[in-house]
Each structure stands twice: as C-alpha cells, then as structure tokens.
Symmetry: C2
Subunit: 411 residues, 2 copies
C-alpha cells in the first residue's frame, strides 16, 4: 500500500527503516573490518551484535518484523549459496569429493564423540528436565554443525574461492548440512521421546542425498536447453528473474523433500553453472545477493547475547567455564577433520579451521534443545557461547592462515 | 533457518515456492503480452489475476504469507519508483512542472466532481450504512487516484520514458500521489465522522510537499559528496547497497512524516541522479528491481475478483451497470486532464490516458470505504471493477496511441 504506508499489524515504513539500518551498519562495519585486514563478513556479524537485542535492539527479536527479517535473511543465504554454486566447478568438486566426504565424516564423528563424552564424564551443572544421555546426544549434535554460509563468505571475502582448500571446505560443509539434517531429525526424535529407527534414519539420508544427485544430474542435462530458450525471450532481465525463480523453486523442493533449503539453492547454482548464459546470470545475480546476504549475517550476529559474557554471579562463571570447555572441544574436533584425508595434499589446518564456525546451523540445534527442555538455561547459554565464539574466531583465523607462508606440505 | 526450512507460523519452503511461481508466471505472461504487441506489465497483471484468489488461489490473500508478499510487493514498487527517479532529469521535470501540476489538478477535480454528482443525482442501489453525501465523497475520491507505478512501468515497457508526455504523466502522477494522501486523510476523517478542518488539510499538504522539496534540495547538495566518499570504500557492491538503503530510508522517512513511501523512493532516485556514480547505481539497481517489481504487479492483479463479472443475478447486473457508468466517468475525467495545460504542445490524449489507471491507489481508497461501512458491498464491487478496468485498459491504449501517427498537434 504505497499510499497509506501502513498495513495491518505491520508498520511498513518502520520496517524499511530497520532494513536500511541493517544495510548501512553491515557495510560500515564490513568496511571497518576490511580496513583492519579482516574479512568483511566479520564486520557484518559485529554489526548484527550491535543492532541486536543485547545492545541497541534495532533488529527485532520477535513478532511480525522478526519473521520478515528471518525470511529476508533466508533469502540472503539462499542467494549466497546459489552464487557459490554458480562459481563452483562441478568437475573440480567431484575430484575433491572423497576428501570432502572424509573431512565431513571426521568433522561430525569427532565433535559428536567429544560432546557426548564431555557431558557424560565431566563434572557439570544441571541438565534441564531430560535425562543426561539425551542432553549428551544434543550437545554432541550441536558440536557437529558447520555453517557453510559463514565459511563460504569468508573464503569469498578473502578471494580464495578457487583454492583446493576452499573446494574441500565447501564440499565438506555441504555434506555436513545434508548429514546435519539427518542428525537433526534423529535428535528431534530423541528429544520428543520417539523411538528412532535405523530404517528411518536411512530413509531421511536417502531422500536428502537422492534429491541432490537427481536434481544435479537431471538439471545439468535439461537446464542448458531450457536457458537457451529463455535467453531468446524479449522481456527484460528474464535471465536473472528465471535464475532466481529456479533457485527459489529448487530450494523449496529440497525443503519439501525433507532436505535443507540452502542445499537446493546450492544445487541450483551447480546446475546453472552448466548453462551457456552462466556469466550473465552470475553478473546479474550478484547485486541481488549483495543486498540480501548482509541481512543474513546481521541476523546471525543479532542473536548474540552479550549478557552471557558477564561473569558477575557464580552461576554465570560456571556457564563461562563450561562454554570454554565446549569451545575447546568444538575447535579441536573440527580442526582434526582437516587431517581426515591423508592421501591428499591440501593445507590441513586451513580446511580444519574452515569447518569450525557453527553459525546459524548451531543456533538451530541449540534452540531446539532449549525449547524441548533437553538443555537447561545454563547449558543452553554455554552452547550458545560456543556457537558464537566458533563463528567469530574462524574469519580472522582463516585470514591469518592464508596470509602465512606454507608451514605444512601442500601438493 | 536454512537447515530446518520451517519457521514458526510460516513454512518458508512453501513461501519460496509461491515466490518462484509468481516470478515465472510474471515473466511468462509478460513475454506473451510482448509477443502480441502489448506492454509486458499487462501480462504481469494478468498473471496476477490467474494466480489470485478468483482463479488458482496461489497468491495468498491473508495471513502471514499475504503480509510477506505485501511487503515484497511494496519493496518492488519502491525500487521501481527509485529507478524511475534515477532516470528522471530534474531540469526537464522542472520545465514541465507547471503543466504537470495543471494536469494533476484537473485530473483530481473533474473525476471527483463526476463521482460526487453521479452518486447524488443518478439512480442507484444501496449506499452502505453511511449517509449518501459521505458515500458520494468516497466515490469521488476513489475516482481521483492515479497509479504512478502502473503508468511508469507501461511507459518504460514501451521505451517512451524520455518523451515530454512521459515526463508530464510522471510529474502529474507524483503530484497526484501527494494530493491523494491529503484526500485520503480527509475522506478517512469523514468516514470516521470526524470534523475535518481546513487547517488540518493544509498541514498534511504542507508536510507532504515540504518533505519532498527539502529532501530533494538538501539531498542534491549532500548526496554527490556522500557518494564520492562511499565509492572509495573497499567492500564489494557498496554502491548498490548504499543506494538501496538510501531509497528505503527516504521512503521510510516520507512515510513517517505522513507522506507516501513511493514519493520518498522517487525523491531518492531524483537525488541520486545527481551523483557522479548514477550510471553504476542504475546498472546495479535494475536487476534487483527486476526481481521485486513483478511481485508488485502480480500482487495488484491478484486482487481482481473475476466473480464480479458474472451477470447471473439481477443484483450482479445492477453492479455491472453501475460499474459501467463509473468506468466511463473515470476515463473521461482523467482523459480531460490531458487538455489541462493549453499553453504546452504535448500529445494531450496520451497524457490523459496515462493518468487513467487507478491501480493499487484506487484499491486502497475502495478498501477503506468498504471497511468503514461507507460503501455497501454492491457499490464496493462496482468501484473495484472501475479500478480493475481502468488499470487494464491503459497499457494497450497507451501502446496504440504511441504507435499511431500524430493525429493532434505537437510542439
């Protein structure tokens, strides 16, 4: 309603002001980060902390506005993964496939084992309403997450997208997301007290992997033919609109088939990278992605609760100590994954660190644990701190690692 | 939540599928329209009718999804007006200023007088719960609306944005939007039974005009300096993000100052057309606008209720007859505005027809009338038909007029 400016239940003018503030803060802090030699995404995450509920409270935390920001953020990470898919060389991806799979597997098994053991054998505070085994599984699951969005953006900020390390990290992170979905369905089932069957797990995994394989195989065959027709259409900007509609559609189908939305968007990018028009598509999708991706990173940053860092009470100090232990395990567990494919010659520390940020994926796990009552408030706080710290330390560490001379062997 | 794919209260996957359907239908029907020699926007409006509640029901009519579509549509029309502002030559605009003002004034006074007289003197059906004078004022007000979005898009589709007629139409439509806001506040006051003071009207008008003048004057001075700094920033796509944040911000300020959001976006475009980077800005804003503008046109089309055209009952036939009369008055009243500036030499019929589409502005007026009980269901139906028909006949008529040789004088 351009004339009235206010719809039912939502003040559109106010919402657009929030959106403008998010974009300005993201770019200003991104610039600051770059000026001090850090990836821009770190600045965008910090802009989110500043605009979030624990400081300025500009990014809405609940209600209609929060829901809208959430959808726009989702659109942002979809477009980002779509863009990364477009830039990905499918042949190169296949070449690093086995290594990526190994990295993903180790990066799931080791942190999971760490998390479960920590909770079962170490001294700790309360464990919510559930039994300690369920809580242990949940904490282990949260440690397995990898945020492909954060890592991909860091690699792209650093201009390292075309390194073998980047391909392995992206490949492993995508596999992680597929497996993460399976883990999520298992832990959600456990949290709800359901019996989780091996067959059920295999079915979820089969659908997720099957969707990806079928989409890419069929898509790589059909899409070039389809886009050769679309490019002959007369309406303006038909390529960018058709591509984004394709990415949204495939993301939605992935979601409805029980897989992750961003996997669908990434697959859409992989598919369209095989069209004759992929240069134009990439060129025109980028400005669109550049508007929405910052909303995603600011949104992730805004969920940081700085109050957790305040060690004023003994309980808060206990949470900080628990968080410290979890952070250590989270970092070691993922860095270990860098050494998962001994037959290859990439820089193992870079791959390991690239898998560290838990980002929004970790947040989702933690949130489900909190809501279902499996994680008590103190444990939830510690898990949240682990997610935050792993998300924030990865960008500068990756930057530093790429900048240092080769300390390790490289093929 | 990329992993889960479903947020509270909204199925993100389903929503993205709806979005993909809107984009695909818009482009497919836009292409069809162009192939039969019509402006693409006509196809997008028809795509909206098809996806709307009266046919397929794919575009949601209420609930969270509808609200989201509404915000994205609003974003679309904002970006469209921003783009048009960017393409507008401010000096040329000033040159046609007096003519545009005259066209806008006549295009408001004549349809208003027609509407009021029609309701007070012609035989008609029920008039809702209010008294006939209030209803008459409401119908008159609805007839005054002009949809700058529809008209601007038609002119742009036809490649006629740089004609004197286009400048006058855009100028007059923008003035119409400013005055439309004043009219809206008056009729809303009348509908609520409030006493509307002359002073109050002047204050609303003063704020709306004052905002536009101050924003453009100050902006044209400051923006080039600001963007000369921004362009030196290192983060990628900072120009397009900063420009769109600027447009959103100015739209929001316009809205909060009691003016129309799209006026703020148009002003933002006018302001940034004075920067040294306006070529790059325009180049990068276009793909973004091309994604969201179709959502707006499909959304407008989706509010069409085809059931209104079914003459099965005597009451339905009476509504159709009333609608026919209103459509005649609506067209004649706006076309007459083409002859409002006798001292200029533009093609008067084109300017008049350009002012005809009521679009979403007319919808807003009619909806307020219905909700406040001033307009009965039958009258509301007739007014809605008038809005629909004026919106749909303008694009092909403008196309035909531009294509015909000059039947009238032109300077």
């Amino acid at each position: 309603m351009p004339l009235a400016g206010a719809a039912e239940g939502l003040d559109v003018a106010r919402f657009f002001l929030v959106l403008a503030a998010i974009l300005v803060a993201a770019k200003a802090f991104g610039e600051l980060a770059e000026r001090i030699g850090q990836p821009a995404v770190l600045g965008e995450l910090l802009a989110g902390v500043l605009l979030g509920g624990s400081v300025l409270g500009i990014v809405p935390a609940d209600g209609m506005e929060a829901e809208l920001i959430h959808v726009l953020a989702e659109l942002g990470v979809l477009l980002l993964l779509f863009e990364i898919g477009l830039e990905t060389d499918l042949k190169e991806m296949f070449r690093v496939g086995p290594a990526a799979l190994a990295v993903a597997m180790v990066g799931i098994v080791v942190p999971f084992a760490f998390g479960v053991s920590f909770w079962l054998f170490a001294p700790h505070a309360s464990s919510g309403s559930g039994d300690p085994v369920t809580a242990a599984i949940f904490i282990g699951a949260t440690l397995t997450a990898t945020s492909v969005g954060i890592t991909a953006r860091v690699l792209s900020d650093l201009g390292r997208m075309n390194t073998p390390e980047a391909r392995i990290i992206i490949g492993a992170a995508v596999i992680d997301d597929v497996l993460g979905l399976v883990i999520l369905s298992v832990v959600s089932g456990v949290a709800a007290g359901a019996v989780v069957s091996f067959l059920g797990i295999m079915r979820t995994l089969g659908v997720a992997v099957g969707f990806l394989v079928v989409a890419v195989v069929v898509g790589r065959f059909l899409a070039p033919r389809l886009f050769d027709v679309i490019v002959r259409m007369r309406v303006r900007y038909v390529l960018v609109v058709a591509s984004i509609a394709f990415a949204l559609g495939l993301a939605a189908v992935a979601g409805l088939a029980g897989s992750a939305l961003i996997i669908g968007a990434f697959a859409a990018g992989l598919i369209l990278s095989g069209t004759n028009q992929f240069d134009t598509i990439e060129h025109e999708v980028r400005p669109v992605a550049s508007i929405f991706a910052p909303i995603f990173f600011v949104s992730v940053g805004s969920s940081v609760n700085l109050a957790l860092l305040n060690p004023s009470t003994p309980a808060a100090r206990a949470t900080l100590v628990m968080a410290g232990a979890l952070i250590l395990l989270a970092v070691i567990g993922k860095v270990a994954a860098g050494w998962a494919a001994p037959w290859t010659g990439f820089r193992r520390l870079i791959v390991g660190v690239g898998m560290v940020p838990r980002g929004e994926v970790g947040l989702i796990f933690a949130e489900i644990g909190r809501r279902s009552g499996v994680l008590g408030d103190d444990v939830f706080g510690a898990v949240l701190l682990m997610v935050m710290v792993t998300t924030f330390i990865a960008p500068p560490t990756l930057k530093a690692l790429f900048a240092t001379p080769l300390l390790e062997e490289r093929a």
